[in-house]
């Protein structure tokens, strides 16, 4: 008769075998995680180590490409290549690959902060951040909109130190809606704590103290800020309030940001926004189901899309840059130029218009640059972009 050991003995044996297996396998796996020498890259039998190392090489390469080929209205094949390569790596099940992505993101933010203090004498500079976040800078002011760190609260993409650097340079933070993809408590508190103005939906963080402006739902509001006039239009994301922001930078240009706008009924008044404001740059989320109607309603000079590659989303909902390119190509009939940007990049609007040079591209009215400020010439009279007659 065969003798079987008792259950505790069997469990003990299994435990010892398990520990031995872990002790044996772990060092081997760790050894394979990196090549044995720089000259002898070998990943045989270790696909995960291969993919990690590939990402470690690829992200810096993408960064170099993006720096060499910056945002443009007509991006050449080099820039398109860089963006689709980025899409490829961000649509990997493990996009981070042992923090290769984290390093990339930090590098992109470092590039932005390196250049953010460069003097700006004319026009508007627009920096793109994570999701729908932007920093908008003119010679007179700098504001942030929908600034969120991304990632997890214990491991955000945007580091606390980068947030501090951004807050130090901004006069105000504007939050369009309550969705956490657009609103971040920690960042709002940092702004308020530094004495910076925070403009946010009225029901959001009611205990936030400081220089706070609360925006009521379904009410139109205009706020005077240093260097700009902020028009808040009562949009919606479904049934939730969403402020569409029209930022008039006192002659430097007018920038509109649509937040998380997604509501068919609102299109009725969005259709006519261009009759009230002369929008230079429209910042709109790429996946908006009404993108065509929104662009038609705003009639901007340039569209900059946002909210690509939201990494908290599942793979299929991480809107890629190549899909934005296709989308915008399909809207080419609108004749509105577009710029596709990624994190940490800047695009200058209005800086290239020489003083007193006339640009007749807008048809019935003419855009004029004077002393670095854009004006509209209509029926012989000169107006600011906000419609104020200056002569």
């Amino acid at each position: 008769m065969k003798h079987f050991p008792s259950l505790p003995v069997r469990l003990l044996r299994m435990g010892i075998i398990g520990i031995l297996a872990v002790v044996t396998v772990l060092p081997v796996t760790a050894q394979r995680a990196q090549p044995s020498s720089d000259e002898d890259l070998e990943f045989w039998d270790s696909p995960s180590a291969y993919l990690n190392y590939q990402a470690k090489i690829a992200y810096p390469l993408i960064d170099r490409m993006l720096k060499a080929f910056p945002p443009a209205v007509e991006p050449d094949i080099n820039r398109r290549m860089a963006l689709i390569a980025l899409d490829q790596f961000l649509h990997d099940a493990d996009y981070d690959r042992r923090n290769a992505f984290g390093t990339f993101f930090n590098t992109r933010m470092a590039h932005m902060l390196e250049g953010i203090d460069n003097p700006l004498s004319t026009g508007i500079r627009i920096y793109k951040l994570y999701n729908s976040g932007f920093i908008i800078r003119t010679p007179e002011t700098t504001v942030a909109i929908d600034l969120v760190p991304g990632g997890m609260s214990n491991k955000p993409f945007l580091s606390d130190s980068a947030v501090s650097e951004i807050v130090r340079r901004c006069a105000a933070l504007i939050i369009t809606n309550t969705d956490k993809a657009h609103a971040n408590r920690s960042i709002a508190w940092t702004f308020a704590g530094e004495g910076k103005k925070v403009i946010l939906p009225e029901e959001l963080w009611t205990n936030l103290d400081g220089d706070i402006v609360r925006i009521g739902a379904d009410t139109e509001q205009t706020i005077d800020l240093a260097g700009m006039k902020l028009h808040l239009l009562p949009g919606h994301n479904g049934q939730t309030a969403n402020s569409i922001c029209v930022m008039d930078f006192n002659g430097r240009g007018v920038v509109a940001h649509t937040g998380a706008q997604d509501n068919e009924a609102d299109l009725e008044w969005i259709d006519r926004i261009h009759t009230r404001y002369d929008i230079d740059v429209l910042l709109s989320k790429t996946q908006s189901p009404d993108l065509e109607a929104i662009i038609t309603g705003f009639k901007p000079d340039t569209v900059i899309t946002c909210h690509e590659n939201e990494l908290e989303n599942t793979f299929d909902k991480r809107e890629s840059y190549w899909i934005t390119q296709k989308r915008m190509k399909n809207l080419a009939n609108l004749n509105v130029p577009n710029v596709i940007m990624t994190w940490g990049e800047a695009y200058d609007f209005g800086n290239s218009i020489a003083d007193t040079q006339e640009d007749t591209s807008t048809g019935t009215s003419k855009r004029i640059g004077r002393d670095g400020i854009l004006y509209i010439k209509r029926n012989g009279a000169i107006y600011t972009p906000a419609g104020i007659k200056v002569n």
Binding site: P47, Y50, L61, I77, R80, I84, A85, F89, W322
Partner: protein, 331 residues
């Protein structure tokens, strides 16, 4: 029970739907990426210094080819066939002086001189039912070549249908010992064992020097092709793991003046082999072998860049090519 079945059905339906969306997304991404890669590769041709966009395109290609979701998909087939069609068109371009070297799938190369065009280790890739390079393209390529040299018997280097296609057109095929014996008088497996030998191609103005290499215990012909007055190329097949061979490989440069060495990118002791051949230029082969290989052994272009960069102290330039590309070499 009904609730359980309903819940399971919903879960299954959702999973199927998400998988389908993911699959559709990836197909679209692959199609867009392959198109961009092709455009970049045509704009930035192979050179001893790799411009940044070309390096990016090769990295993007590596990423696509190391994602098994892209295996056997329409965008991949379209890409590789398009590259082969470009090669086919380019093969008709005359070489006035020196050598034009084309890279094909795996370790396949075509070398063209003013007087001859030879193929080495030409295979279609993929499966017999669905080859990467279609039969019609392979047939056209064979038609433009004058001879085929095979390094060893493995299917990723030797394809009998292609050999027969050469023979059917009256072109010689030089194979390693024991391969395809008696198939066709023009398919000529060498009979010498572990000995170096020469094959003259007077009409092509070239001499083939076959060096008796091995992949482990398997015969692996190292084909040194001397195009008289134009240059000499050496293709090492899958030379691997034979210490005795390394002893004579160390001295190859004493006997032959090698212009271009075409080693397998994962060759054993690459630095020693390069020193042994002492070439003026290196063009690696065998990157991104798909098919049965798992992703950890689909040697990437970025790995070759990395390896060659580490050997920059040898002061031998290298050119990294992908499928269908060519590089003009002059002495």
């Amino acid at each position: 029970m009904k609730h359980l079945i309903l819940t399971l059905s919903i879960c299954l339906g959702t999973a199927v739907c998400v998988t389908a969306q993911k699959s559709e997304y990836k197909l679209g991404q692959a199609e867009t990426a392959f198109t961009a890669i092709d455009e970049i590769l045509r704009a930035y041709r192979p050179a001893t210094e790799i411009p940044l966009p070309r390096e990016m395109a090769l990295m993007s290609l590596d990423q696509l080819l190391h994602d098994t979701d892209n295996d056997n998909t329409e965008p991949f087939y379209s890409f590789i066939n398009n590259r082969m069609l470009q090669l086919l068109t380019d093969l008709d371009r005359k070489v006035d002086k020196g050598l034009r070297i084309y890279k094909l799938y795996n370790d396949g190369f075509i070398v063209k001189s003013p007087k001859a065009t030879i193929a080495i280790d030409l295979i279609p890739g993929g499966s017999a039912a669905k080859p990467f390079i279609t039969d019609s393209i392979v047939y056209e390529i064979a038609g433009r070549c004058d001879a085929l040299f095979i390094s060893h018997e493995h299917a990723d280097h030797a394809n009998l249908n292609i050999a027969k296609s050469f023979a059917a057109r009256g072109k010689r095929v030089i194979a390693p010992k024991g391969l395809w014996v008696g198939v066709d008088p023009l398919i000529q497996p060498m009979e010498l064992e572990n000995q170096e030998f020469d094959v003259e191609f007077e009409e092509l103005d070239l001499t083939l020097h076959v060096l008796p290499g091995h992949q482990g215990d398997i015969y692996n012909n190292i084909n040194v092709v001397e195009f008289h007055n134009e240059g000499t190329v050496a293709q090492t097949g899958d030379q691997w793991g034979n210490a005795d061979d390394l002893m004579w490989i160390d001295r190859v440069h004493e006997k032959y003046d090698i212009d271009v060495l075409m080693p397998n990118c994962w060759i054993d002791q690459m630095r020693r082999v390069i020193r042994g051949f002492g070439p003026k230029l290196i063009i690696t082969g065998h990157e991104n072998e798909l098919g049965e290989h798992s992703i950890d052994h689909r040697e990437a272009y970025w790995m070759t860049i990395f390896k060659m960069d580490k050997m920059s102290d040898l002061n031998i330039p290298n050119v990294l090519m992908t499928w269908g590309e060519s590089y003009d070499y002059r002495k």
